[in-house]
Each structure stands twice: as structure tokens, then as C-alpha cells.
């Protein structure tokens, strides 16, 4: 894991984490410097609010349109490239074309969902800058990335007072 300069507290339960977040906000820490990591989603709590993925459904719809267009073109080309009348149907038979178009529409939407999720979540990222394995045991990480040197003690105190079970530091702070 690449070392990033950070100070963070590990909290037991969302209520304590909420207090930790409020303590950091009260200290005037900029929101983009505050980092939160949790073992499960806590979207009903203020500390775990994320920027909404408003674009995702639209991108998925676009993926579906691209997939459907591809399906239609495949169906059109394969039927007209070597025209054979089958079962009295027209060369460009609408019903089978609709089925292939539909299936590839859904495939396009599914692939786009996967891609937008990975890009939006910034995955894969096998070397995250900050992580603590205790998160897996139910702890919630609330911390500050790149805090000013002179603010470190204050942040640590605030996190402890808010109920952090442990307060840790990484990067150059861990050495001091």
C-alpha cells in the first residue's frame, strides 16, 4: 500500500462514526480531505454520503442503445448478405430481428453497468493509498488525508473525544 499522509480513527458503530465526522467538520477540515471507509453501506447516515451517481442510468441507457443498434445491424447484415427466403418470411424478417436487437440491447446495458461501476468506483485499484484491515471486522474509518502538520494533534484529540477506539497515522505522520 502506498503511504499517504493521514490521520484516522477507527470507530465501532455508525453513531460513533457520525460523531467522528461531526468533530472533523467542526475542526474546519475540508470535505475533500475527509476519508470514510466502512464494512457495509451506511447511506442512511450523514457521514457516509457520497456524490450521487446520477449519470449511471443514462450511460446504461446509452449502452443499451449502442447494443441494440449493433444487434439490429448484425441481424440486417446477416440476412441481406446472403439472401435466402426461409419459411416464406421476408429476407429482413422483423420478428427475429426484434429478438436479436432486444438481446443485444440488454447485453449493451449490462456491459455498460459493469464498466460505469468500475470507472465510477475507481476499480480496480490494487494499491489503495489508505486502508485498514480492521474495517473488515466492523470498524468504520473516519480520517483526514494530508492534514496540515500543526493540525495533527488537534485532529487526533477530536477523533478520540468523538469515540474512536483507535487513532492511527500513516505516511510521514506515522514516523513521528
Amino acid at each position: 500500500m502506498a503511504a499517504v499522509n493521514s490521520v484516522y480513527g477507527l470507530f465501532h458503530g455508525p453513531h460513533a462514526a457520525e460523531r467522528g465526522m461531526n468533530a472533523l467538520r467542526a475542526a474546519g477540515i475540508a470535505p475533500d480531505q475527509i476519508i470514510v471507509m466502512s464494512p457495509e453501506p451506511f447511506e442512511e447516515y450523514g457521514f457516509a454520503q457520497a456524490e450521487r451517481a446520477k449519470l449511471m442510468p443514462w450511460l446504461v441507457a446509452l449502452g443499451g442503445v449502442i447494443g441494440g443498434t449493433t444487434g439490429y445491424l448484425i441481424a440486417w447484415y446477416t440476412q441481406t448478405a446472403y439472401p435466402i427466403v426461409t419459411g416464406g418470411m421476408p429476407i429482413m424478417a422483423p420478428w427475429p430481428t426484434g429478438i436479436v436487437t432486444y438481446e443485444l440491447t440488454m447485453m449493451g446495458a449490462i456491459v455498460t453497468t459493469l464498466i460505469t461501476l468500475l470507472i465510477g468506483s475507481r476499480l480496480p485499484n490494487w494499491k489503495p493509498k489508505l486502508y485498514d484491515p480492521e474495517i473488515s471486522d466492523g470498524k468504520i474509518l473516519i480520517g483526514v488525508v494530508d492534514p496540515p502538520d500543526n493540525a495533527r494533534a488537534d485532529i487526533e484529540n477530536r477523533l478520540r473525544r468523538a469515540g474512536a477506539e483507535q487513532v492511527k497515522a500513516t505516511g510521514r505522520f506515522s514516523a513521528s
Binding site: S38, V60, A93, G138
Partner: protein
């Protein structure tokens, strides 16, 4: 469930990944043996030619296509049921979804091998792909067999995605608890660097919502298309408009049964008694009951229409299954799909874990018979009586069929040793305490509402 700490939940659900009992190895050896026997039978068929199977004029679709339809149907257990429960926000689904989604992926993979096995010359399987020959001739897109290619691949991709996405946070959890360097490395790769930031959680949830919406019509379309493999052909008892919903209902029916069976076995073998609760079996049992009634309705409607039409070719197949040579199989099917499960599932006292497992076991048998009875009697008694014939499966087909059931069990066993069979983070998520609201803000909200 008694309130457990996150550490206890981790310990309970990660235990199967690290502790291996002697019983597990015996099971693994047993199912591997059957799979190897099936592979040998398949290689024998490849070496000797498709003539070693029992399929011959006029019955060209026998056990292999029965298995194809059966396994594709069974695949509706997971993704479809999981997606419906997810969208309905059924909180009891949390320990069930992964067990279900895994069935889909494995059943679909197994089902998709049967058209290839059935080909006789499997090395030419790529002819099924939308790919032109050297003369520029493409596969005929007006054939339902080609629709299968698109539908099954879309469903397989969707199901794998639907299964894998919620597994990523659990891979991270396994990574953090890995005891050996090799395991740590493998799960580090699989976890994709998941850290659990709000951004990641929000996007995962959003993606799962979209996938749940997208996968339901895909699942319905897959089995509709499988039914059209039959319904598009002017064969007695096949050329029916009811076939698509009839197949979809049957698929969900067999899928729920498979899910209950899998859950009952996992509960017993992996000691998940505190997670897979009687309420889960109760609820799934009710769903199975509804599907059993729906299945009977479809069977009745289909046969009533045939009987009223009184077409000579249709009636030949009709009587073949009601009173003729296939009638023992038909009435066994009715017994397995309705007469046994209905009272078990309808009477609350009988709808226990054992009761629902017994009902599910009979349904799985009944639904396999149903697939067989749709395919073989119709092909053996087509329009011209001079071409009527019979079908007898050979040892090759029986061995390969047994091998696929063993393959399902084997894959499931291997999966349960590598991935937590219950989604740990979703289970924990379902136990959240409500956030405490700031009284001042709460009062302000109430005033605003007023």
C-alpha cells in the same frame, strides 16, 4: 437470529473457507468420480460418433435437449428470484441471494454445454456463432436456435455480473482474514482494491439496482426463447402460443425448488443454522406453492385446448402421455409437481425445512420429467403415422446426464470453499440500527411537513 457481532458473523461465514471436513473430501471424490465417468462417456461419443446415443429418426432430441431445457430452466432459481426479491426490498432475502445466484451461473453453464454435446461433432460448435462461412453464408438469424446463442450469452453475462458485483466487498473481507500469503494474493486480486468508501458503496448499490431491473426481462426472454425452439416448429403439441409463459413458469418453479434444496443442504453441511432460518424456507415454500398451482394451471390449460381441438395428430400425442406408453412418466410428473408438494406446502405445519426440502426434491424430479415429456412424445408421434418411432436412452446419455447433476454438486462444493456462500456485508447491512436524528432537525422537518 441472536444478535451477533460483526466478528462473530465473519467467523461463522468464513469458517467453511478454512476448515475442511473429511465428509467434504468424500463428497468431492464421489462427485468428481461421476463427472469423470461422464467425461469418458462424452469422449467415447466423440470417438465413436453420435450413433452411440439413443437419438435416431424420428426422435432426434432426447436426453441431451431435455437436459438443456431442464438446466436452463433451473438457472432461473437465482438471478431472477434474487432480482425480484431485491427490487421488492424483501429483507429476508439477504442470506438467500448468493446461494441462488450461484445456481444460475452453474446451471446455465451446464445447460449451455448440451447443444454442443448434442452436436455429435462438438469441434464444429463455432458454426452456431454469428460468423460467416468461406462462401459468405451466415447462420440463419430466423432460426430460434440462433436466438438461443444471443439469449443465453446475454443471460450468462448478466448472471455472472449480478453474482460477482456483490462478491467484491466479500473478497476484500476474505483478503483481510487470509491466513496464507497465496490466499491473500488471490483474494487481493479478486477484491480489485475494494476499500468500502461511500462512493464505492453508492455505486455498487446503484449498479445492483440497475442489474436487478435489467436481468428480469432477460431471464424471461431466455426461457421464452428456449420454448420457441419448440413452439416455432409445426410439431404436434409444440406449436402453441402458451409455450413461452408455460416454460417461464416451469423454469421459476424448478428454480425455486433447486434453491430450497441447495439451502437445506448448505444449512446442514456448513452449519449455517443461525443464518438460513426456518422463515426463509417458509417464505420460499410459499413461493413454490404458488408456482405449483400455476404449473398445474398451465398443464391443464394446454391439455384442455388440445383436447377440445381434437386434431388427430395432437390427440395421438395427447393420449400417448395420458394413457399410452408415456403415461407412467406423465402421472409421476403430476405426482411430483403437484400431488406431493401441494399438501406439504399448503399445510403450515408441514411447511418445515424438511417438508419444503422433500417437496423441492420431488419438484426437481417432476420438472425433469416434464421437459422429457414435452420433447420426446411429440417427436416420436409426428403428423405421419408411418414415421412414428420410439426413443430409448443409452448408457452414454444416462452417464452424461448423471455427470451434469454431479457437476452441479461439485461446482457448488468448490464455490462454497472459496467464497462465503452468504453475502456477509449484505447480512450485516440488514442488521443496521436506525440512525438517531438530531431532535432540533427532526422538529424542523416535522414543522415543514405540517
Amino acid at each position: 437470529m441472536v444478535a451477533k457481532t460483526p466478528e462473530q458473523i465473519n467467523e461463522d461465514l468464513l469458517r467453511p473457507l478454512s476448515v475442511t471436513s473429511g465428509r467434504y473430501w468424500v463428497g468431492l471424490a464421489f462427485f468428481s468420480g461421476i463427472v469423470v465417468a461422464a467425461l469418458c462417456a462424452f469422449l467415447f461419443q466423440v470417438y465413436s460418433g453420435i450413433g452411440v446415443a439413443g437419438i435416431r429418426r424420428p426422435v432426434f432430441w432426447g436426453f441431451y435437449i431435455t437436459n438443456f431445457v431442464f438446466w436452463i430452466g433451473l438457472s432461473h432459481a437465482g438471478t431472477l428470484i434474487s432480482a425480484i426479491l431485491r427490487l421488492a426490498n424483501a429483507t429476508w432475502r439477504r442470506p438467500v441471494t448468493r446461494c441462488a445466484e450461484v445456481i444460475t451461473v452453474f446451471a446455465l453453464s451446464i445447460g449451455a454445454t448440451f447443444p454442443v454435446i448434442h452436436l455429435g461433432r462438438p469441434w464444429l460448435a463455432f458454426w452456431l456463432f454469428p460468423y460467416p462461412t468461406e462462401r459468405g453464408l451466415w447462420p440463419n438469424i430466423r432460426s430460434p436456435l440462433l436466438w438461443d446463442f444471443f439469449a443465453i450469452n446475454t443471460y450468462l453475462l448478466g448472471s455472472v455480473t449480478f453474482l460477482l458485483l456483490p462478491m467484491v466487498p466479500d473478497f476484500a473481507l476474505v483478503r483481510d482474514h487470509a491466513k496464507t500469503a497465496v490466499r491473500k494474493r488471490i483474494y487481493t486480486i479478486l477484491a480489485l482494491g475494494w476499500t468500502g468508501t461511500p462512493r464505492q458503496w453508492h455505486r455498487l448499490e446503484k449498479a445492483m439496482q440497475i442489474m436487478a431491473i435489467a436481468i428480469i426481462p432477460v431471464a424471461v426472454s431466455v426461457h421464452s426463447i428456449v420454448s420457441w425452439d419448440f413452439a416455432m416448429a409445426p410439431v404436434p403439441m409444440w406449436h402453441s402460443t402458451i409455450f413461452a409463459p408455460y416454460f417461464v413458469a416451469g423454469a421459476i418453479f424448478s428454480g425455486i425448488a433447486a434453491l430450497i434444496l441447495a439451502m437445506a443442504l448448505l444449512r446442514k453441511l456448513l452449519h449455517l443454522e443461525e443464518y438460513l432460518l426456518p422463515i426463509h424456507f417458509q417464505n420460499l415454500g410459499k413461493l413454490l406453492l404458488v408456482m405449483s398451482l400455476l404449473w398445474v394451471y398451465f398443464v391443464f390449460a394446454e391439455r384442455l385446448t388440445t383436447w377440445y381441438g381434437n386434431g388427430s395428430s395432437e390427440m395421438a400425442v395427447f393420449w400417448l402421455t395420458q394413457t399410452g406408453s408415456y403415461s407412467p412418466l406423465f402421472w409421476t410428473m403430476v405426482t411430483c409437481n403437484f400431488l406431493i408438494p401441494f399438501p406439504i406446502l399448503a399445510i403450515k405445519k408441514l411447511r418445515t425445512i424438511t417438508g419444503t426440502a422433500i417437496a423441492s426434491f420431488t419438484v426437481v424430479i417432476g420438472m425433469w420429467l416434464e421437459r422429457f415429456l414435452i420433447i420426446v412424445p411429440s417427436l416420436s408421434h409426428k403428423y405421419l403415422p408411418y414415421s412414428w418411432g420410439t426413443y430409448r436412452p443409452t448408457w452414454v446419455e444416462i452417464t452424461i446426464t448423471a455427470g451434469t447433476f454431479a457437476a452441479m454438486a461439485l461446482l457448488y462444493m468448490l464455490f462454497s470453499k472459496t467464497v462465503p456462500i452468504i453475502s456477509i456485508w449484505e447480512l450485516k447491512w440488514g442488521r443496521h440500527e436506525e440512525p438517531v436524528r438530531d431532535p432540533v432537525l427532526a422538529q424542523r422537518d416535522e414543522e415543514a411537513m405540517a
